[in-house]
Symmetry: C2
């Protein structure tokens, strides 16, 4: 591996000149620059990342702390990860992948040993143990999610509260008054994952504002969970005419159950899903849905990191406005149901 000194020798300049050609931090004559660049190309020189990190205190690596469990929402996690990696590369940064399982120790390890310049943290709980740890780090961090105590920490996410309101407003506009929420699994609520809480809160608020009869119910994974959830909703909210489904995994079994019991979507029951676009369109009935804009959120998280690293100002809380796309799963309620 050639070093900067090899390049300097080949170009007939000093090592510092090569460094300045690379960084552009000092003016270099066009001629010298060309000679240096030729030498770099010819020797196939790549600066040693460790040496660079040591001398400049910059690694050009950001950590992505993601829950790598293989259960719900895998495609969504993947969309976030993809967006983060792509955006990071666009800023000449690489991504170190950490699991959530390592908890606080993982963050501290990579931060204290100066492996990364910044961190992006996913899957936050309301009172996440990682938050105090993040505050202590010298590296900036951006969270995807909105935990309770986020003062001074940058947060980026879909505005799930607004999403819930949007869903209910849409359904109310079509005349629905009895609306059930099929929520994430109880495990998600138990962990107080922030998006679940925020969605539920928005749902309840909008329900009151719009004067609706609503009921929310978590939904265990699998067909059995969907069956139980639907049965409970039917019992406790008889005559329910619309469902808001904030549970990607339950979507398919739910539709199957409705069909099996002879309830047509949207003729007999309307459905609004909160899920990635492609999931909504892959269903037998194309679902009216509110997209989870993983790509936008991931990209925004990286942009925020870069601003932080550059010392520019950032908005500490950025909640993206939800968008509802109408497809084939909602219908104005027929007079007979009123």
């Amino acid at each position: 591996m050639p070093t900067i000194n090899d390049v300097a020798r080949a170009a007939g300049v000093s090592a510092s000149t090569v460094s300045y050609v690379l960084s552009g931090r000092r003016p270099i004559s066009a001629e010298t620059r060309a000679r240096v660049q030729a030498a770099i190309a010819e020797l196939g020189f790549h600066p040693h990342a460790g040496a660079r990190a040591l001398a400049s205190s910059k690694t050009n690596v950001i950590a992505l702390v993601a829950p790598l469990r293989v259960d719900v929402n895998v495609p969504v996690i993947m969309q976030f990860a993809t967006a983060v990696v792509t955006a990071a590369r666009a800023h000449n940064h690489d991504v170190l992948l950490l699991t959530k399982d390592e908890g606080t120790a993982g963050l501290e390890r990579v931060a204290h040993s100066t492996m990364v310049d910044a961190l992006i943290v996913m899957d936050l709980e309301r009172d996440d143990v990682r938050i105090p740890a993040l505050r202590r780090l010298k590296q900036p961090s951006v969270m995807i999610g909105l935990p309770a105590d986020h003062a001074g920490l940058a947060c980026v996410d879909l505005d799930f509260g607004a999403a819930a309101k949007l869903a209910l407003t849409h359904l109310a506009g079509l005349g629905h008054e009895r609306i059930g929420l099929v929520g994430p699994s109880p495990a998600v609520y138990r962990r107080q994952t922030t998006y679940a809480d925020r969605f539920l809160t928005g749902f309840l608020e909008a329900s009151a504002e719009l004067n609706l009869r609503t009921l929310s119910h978590p939904c265990e994974p699998g067909a059995a969970g969907a069956r139980e959830c639907l049965a409970d909703l039917d019992t406790d909210l008889p005559g329910v005419t619309a469902l808001v489904v904030h549970n990607e995994e339950a979507l398919r079994p739910l539709l199957d159950l409705l069909q099996a019991s002879g309830r047509r979507v949207p003729e007999d029951i309307s459905v609004v899903a909160v899920c990635p676009r492609d999931v909504a369109t892959a269903m037998p009935v194309k679902l009216t849905s509110i997209d989870i804009p993983a790509h936008d959120v991931g990209t925004l998280a990286v942009e925020t990191v870069m601003r932080l690293l550059d010392g520019r100002r950032v908005e500490y809380t950025r909640l993206l406005a939800p968008e509802l796309v109408e497809r084939d799963s909602c219908r104005e309620i027929s007079p007979t149901h009123r």
Copy 2:
């Protein structure tokens, strides 16, 4: 951030002694070691990764080159990634996540700039452009997949050829003679992704050996693709009594179509799936399946990397034996069908 010199001063020893306590490369008296460790703990010292990499030419980071497209097989990719990250951490290594899109340039960037000690490469095509690049690197690499020219490169994967044979042998043992293969999407074949080729080859070989009437057909994504695939199979292989499905995404629509057309699984048609265990058991009929052991493969890939880094011998090609688990989707063919 405290440095090794701060620790040395606090413990009343030299920096090199601290280093030897950390690495264990030279004997240190128990007493000194205790003093040093106390100082490390007290100061919260973490060695600077860049400095360490510079001095030792080791980064304790491995690159994972994965296709981060959000299409087929996301959960499987995720399972690989999870296994790799977990296994790497168990060996005190971290994982840098690269996308396949960066192609050869990405590999060279991280390798030449000494960001990683080794690479794990996924989603290989038969004549993958990245292979010559990998050969040129000074870092060792392990491939998940089995490209055409893999001499001297470590490969790890499920033995898809054997998997196809296993599926056919199982079905033949139940008396099936007309068997269709629902393959991956044409795009996967077009890219000559190695698992698809190997499965198909094994399928054709076993088909000849067992004297079966078989037909293979790629399957476009979505319900429409499944419909077309099934229709073609029915036309070109009339009286087909069993399906081997090597396409996770097609599984569900396929079962729906069979049900819709009144063909019961397994009474009228048997199905063997090649997919992760949880996908097979999540179907309405629990599917007899051959598992894709992503966890084992990912772990083995990391183990192989570690052996390579230690200069130990490795088997350059490790194909894991497939295992077929019988569930509820296969049945001995009834005499009327013969």
